[in-house]
């Protein structure tokens, strides 16, 4: 099996599974006053430390949530904007868990601007500069695009925001970068960031929110856990696994994966005619590669590769069973044919050169076969 769908989810690492198991066995509520509760609380504290260390922030700035979707919603829908600030900015290439909350904010009376991208998928900074004004309350830009791997210039965006408007918050959906490429919110001037554990070999149902200040209204009222920002008994097994996965990712293999990604793309471009690379050739995540194979339907290629034990994705996993084209590729100005033929290959640190060679060989075969049918 060659699993190339790591942007959808990764295989939990051994350490994460063991940590979760330990937390299932030592099952107490971390809020309980007795000794067993203390043990559970220690697991949460230690995991929080590991999660914070992976992005160079303070433990106190990490809140555990159920995942990326919840973190994004918590910030966007819960932002405490001063009265006169009713303007929000995001981009045209965000994940649905960012895009949809902004739609809701728009319905409730906020002005929302969506910044476009160039053909590499990098957001248009001039457009952002123009849209920022004194009423801007929140800007949300993803770090690594989940479909193409293009990296947004978070530092430049952060500076622009500070330069143009006082007191606007900056949120970054860092689900595809956290633990994979350097993301240091403190240094970048980011106020809020969203992380997900299962994208870094943790388990599903757990994620985190980085929040520099607590200027958000919690969506759930309850027992006041996690300083009231996220009430509810902590998901201790998920948290423990997240902590273990974060430790596991302190030393990752990004430079080797970058080399293999380069090889993957080079082999495709040299051996398969009529392909188009989707993304930036300068600022990209080594873990995601998106290529359009013209003249085919990507879903057929996906199943053809699956029959050879190679697992890939078309667009993003969350939208691939809806018959709508990828918004990211649309924003990048890709044609319908290019969008229909777009396949995402996403990697983790276990990728080998053999995997790359085998996958490209299979691609050559299957693309040729499908093109014969779809001529």
């Amino acid at each position: 099996m060659i699993y190339l769908d790591n942007a959808a989810t990764t295989k939990p690492c051994k350490e994460a599974i063991e940590a979760a198991e330990e937390a299932f066995i030592n099952f107490a509520n971390p809020s309980s006053l007795h000794r067993l509760g203390l043990e559970a609380e220690k697991m949460v504290l230690s995991a929080r430390k590991a999660v914070a260390a992976l992005c160079g922030c303070a433990d106190s700035e990490i809140y555990f949530t159920s995942g990326g979707t919840e973190s994004n919603n918590t910030v966007i829908r819960g932002i405490k904007a001063p009265k006169k600030k009713n303007h929000l900015i995001t981009t045209k290439i965000e994940h649905p868990s960012v895009k949809e909350p902004f739609e809701i904010m728009k319905e409730s009376g906020f002005r929302v601007d969506y910044i476009g991208v160039d053909e590499d998928g990098t957001i248009n900074l001039d457009e952002l500069y123009d849209k920022l004004d004194s009423e801007t309350a929140l800007v949300s830009v993803m770090h690594v695009n989940n479909e193409t791997g293009t990296v947004q210039p978070i530092d430049k965006i952060s500076k622009l925001i500070k330069q143009r408007t006082a007191g606007a918050f900056f949120h970054v959906d860092a689900v595809q970068s956290y633990g994979k490429i350097p993301f240091l919110p403190e240094k970048l001037g980011v106020d809020f960031a969203s992380f997900s554990a299962h994208k870094i070999n943790g388990i599903k149902g757990i994620g985190a929110l980085y929040a520099k200040s607590a200027k958000i209204l919690p969506w759930a009222a309850g027992g006041g856990q996690q300083k009231g920002i996220r009430s509810g008994t902590e998901n201790v097994p998920g948290i423990a696994a997240f902590g273990a996965a974060a430790k596991f990712h302190l030393n990752n293999n990004a430079s080797e994966i970058a080399r293999l990604r380069g090889l993957f793309l080079k082999n495709i471009e040299e051996n398969i005619p009529n392909v188009r690379y989707n993304g930036s050739r300068v600022d990209f995540s080594p873990y995601i590669l998106n290529v359009s194979f013209l003249g085919i339907k990507a879903e057929i290629l996906l199943h053809a590769l699956e029959s050879r034990g190679i697992y890939v994705s078309t667009g993003s996993a969350c939208s691939s069973n809806k018959p709508m084209p990828s918004p990211t590729l649309v924003a990048m100005g890709r044609t319908k044919e290019e969008i229909n033929g777009a396949v995402r290959f996403s990697f983790d640190d276990t990728l080998t050169e053999n995997d790359v060679n085998e996958a490209v060989a299979a691609l050559c075969d299957e693309v040729a076969k499908i093109r014969q049918v779809m001529r």
């Binding site: 290629l301 996906l302 199943h303 069973n321 018959p323 049918v373």
Partner: protein
């Protein structure tokens, strides 16, 4: 107070000497349908099937019986001794509580045990009077009552029930009494409805599905399995035959005119379905075709696809509009599954401008470049059989 379920069946009663065959089939089907639902005791007398079960399983049993073909109505009734005082007191205690204030009612009685001292009219009068005297706030209305209370004095006992406790059955004929047929089951809306309609006439159903991996996916296959499972709730077990069809499609795409693709594909499907039908002792094929719905369903196209098989091809939705078919699909519970979007990619084999008025000799000529027998042999050899049971 003891309750019992009375199952009435319709058309079977009209059968002459064969009637016991049909009754036995219905009882067997009921027994099968209920085997995972409840422990039951079942009896048959005077064109009624009597089912006894634990009080807390009564609802579940009635729900399940609603899906058994051959049943006209399912009624919960109170059982009592065959004397008028017992009947009266049973009627009062059974009906007080269920009949709300202001409800109008009428009592009808039937006396199949002619030795019972009162005749039907007298029984109705006595019981009606007792209810009126003892349950407050009811009105008698012999012309247009809200609730009809029935008393049946039969050989074994007397039964009291009201129309409030009576549910309509599916009607039709007991599964298995009408022979066997093979359904061409796609993932769409029409074919499951067609299968249901023929199954309702007592016909046992097999299903054949043509699988075009990687042009359709495992999810498309799961969808077909789920559709067969929904149908199996009405028919009990269904054997589903999954035919690997990609190679045939690729060969047709490669060698035949693209505008004939759909018709030649359909001809292969009919041939393979007929082979499966013969192997499984089916006497007919069933399809979901409806005149004019798509290019391959014009009369000329039907002639071309029908020509390759000798068995009768049953097309129960042939004269129905799409919305009529959809209504049945919703009613039988297949619609939501049928509209799941997992077979999009098969459209690469669908020409944009298919032939709508094909000539048989032209299609036969196009097809002649293929080794039809060999292709079919390979596909049949690769058939996967899945036995599907209701949940």
């Amino acid at each position: 107070m003891k309750e019992i379920i009375l199952v009435k069946y319709g058309e079977i009663i009209l059968k002459g000497g064969n009637r016991p065959v049909f009754e036995r089939a219905l009882m067997k089907n009921i027994k099968n349908a209920l085997q995972n639902i409840a422990d039951i005791k079942m009896d048959i007398a005077q064109a009624t099937i009597y089912i006894e079960t634990e009080p807390d399983r009564m609802d579940a049993v009635c729900d399940r019986l609603e899906k058994v073909f051959g049943i006209v109505s399912v009624t919960r009734a109170c059982v009592c001794e065959k004397d008028i005082e017992s009947i009266k007191s049973a009627a009062i205690s059974y009906l007080s509580g269920v009949m709300e204030k202001g409800t109008s009612f009428k009592v009808e009685a039937k006396r199949s045990d002619k030795k019972f001292p009162l005749d039907s009219i007298k029984i109705a009068q006595e019981v009606g009077g007792a209810i009126d005297d003892n349950i407050e706030g009811l009105e008698v209305d012999v012309h247009n009552p809200d609730v009809l209370v029935r008393v049946e004095v039969r050989d074994a006992a007397a039964y009291v029930y009201s129309t409030l406790n009576k549910r309509a059955g599916r009607c039709g004929m007991p599964t298995g009494t009408g022979g066997k047929a093979t359904l061409l089951l796609s993932g769409g809306i029409d074919s499951p409805v067609s299968g249901y309609m023929i199954a309702k006439r007592g016909v046992e159903i097999n299903a054949v599905n043509f699988f075009s991996y990687p042009y359709t996916s495992d999810r498309a296959k799961e969808k077909v399995i789920e559709l067969a499972r929904i149908l199996s709730e009405y028919t009990s077990k269904i054997n589903l035959f999954i035919v690997p069809f990609t190679d045939i499609q690729l060969k047709i795409r490669d060698k035949c005119p693209f505008e004939h693709m759909t018709l030649i594909m359909r001809r292969f499907m009919m041939r393979i379905a007929e082979i499966v039908a013969k192997k499984t002792s089916s006497a007919a094929l069933i399809t979901g075709e409806s005149v004019g719905q798509v290019a391959s369903q014009t009369l000329a196209a039907l002639n071309v696809t029908n020509y390759v098989c000798s068995m009768p091809v049953l097309r129960p939705v042939i004269g129905m509009d799409k919305n009529e078919i959809v209504n049945i699909a919703r009613e039988i519970g297949t619609f939501e599954t049928s509209i799941l979007p997992y077979e999009d990619c098969c459209t690469v084999f669908t020409p944009k401008h298919p032939t709508t008025n094909p000539k048989l000799d032209v299609i036969e000529k196009s097809e002649r470049v293929l080794d039809v027998d060999e292709l079919i042999k390979e596909a049949v050899a690769g058939i996967e059989k899945i036995e599907i049971y209701p949940e």
